[in-house]
């Protein structure tokens, strides 16, 4: 596990880079900006990168974080990479459902099933 700035931890697995949000609440503009810079610095490390975003610690977020996810996903897809989200708690998942972002993000129950889906797609 390699710590990258304060707000994420990064693990390099066999077929994906697993980025875990370490904060329980992601709210403030400057936190979201810092988070985006941290995630983008990982995304930009390689073309065709596979990223798994792990929300296991996140208990609350605002719509500004949804914007961050969309910007990150665009960057990953521009690089022909893949993005999977996982470990989203039910209250947060409801936000994804209401905004219909469940249609544009691949969401899995845990890191293992997200990684398996990437293996199946390769």
């Amino acid at each position: 596990m390699v710590p990258v700035k304060p707000r994420i931890s990064v693990e390099y697995a066999e077929n994906a880079v697993i980025i875990t949000f370490t904060d329980e609440k992601i709210l403030e503009e400057k936190d979201i900006q810092a988070l985006q810079e941290s995630v983008m610095s990982v995304v930009e490390q390689a073309e065709r990168i596979n990223i798994i975003l792990d929300f296991c610690n996140v208990r609350f977020l605002s719509s500004a974080v949804l914007g961050l996810l969309i910007r990150v996903s665009k960057k990953i897809y521009e690089q022909d990479g893949k993005l999977k989200l996982c470990n989203i708690n039910p209250k947060i998942y409801e936000i994804f459902k209401i905004t219909r972002l469940t249609k544009i993000f691949d969401i899995y129950e845990d890191v293992e099933s997200a990684a398996e889906s990437l293996s199946a797609e390769d």
Partner: protein, 144 residues
């Protein structure tokens, strides 16, 4: 009615929000209700800050709230020119789904039982009942 005036900075809502949530806990609102009010207050504040006061540190945001055993009522007022909530595009439709912004109002409407604006459009009134009307619950789950 409790009245607070805060400056137009992203962290200014934190203290007010904490007080509102602790009052909800004291009145035995359940965790879903507390989550909903928290989200709606954050989204309303973000709208007031960004779109209303346009991040101008010289402008203020007024928050009035009243928590009872039955409901919470919140007013949030900025110093901007206001907007027409009826012309805000639906973020769930077409290309809007891929835009990074524009979901705050949808979330406020989904998580609160009443969301209405004054004529100028610079002040929002939101209500969430402790026991939610069944119709509203079903409405939230409806896919349009």
């Amino acid at each position: 009615m409790v009245s607070k005036v805060v400056e137009s900075t992203p962290s200014a809502i934190e203290g007010v929000c904490r007080r509102i949530l602790s009052e909800l806990e004291a009145k035995n609102f359940n965790q879903d209700g507390i989550f909903a009010v928290h989200l709606a207050v954050e989204e309303a504040f973000l709208n007031a800050l960004r779109h209303g006061n346009k991040m101008d540190p010289n402008k203020e945001i007024k928050i009035d709230y009243l928590v009872s055993g039955e409901k919470i009522e919140i007013f949030m007022t900025d110093e901007g020119n206001g907007f027409d909530p009826d012309v805000v595009p639906d973020p769930r439709c077409g290309e809007n789904l891929y835009k990074p912004e524009g979901r705050g109002l949808l979330l406020m409407r989904s998580y609160m039982d009443v969301v209405e604006f004054n004529e100028r459009g610079n002040s929002v009134r939101m209500v969430r009942y402790k026991e939610r009307p069944r119709l509203k619950k079903n409405l939230n789950q409806t896919q349009v």
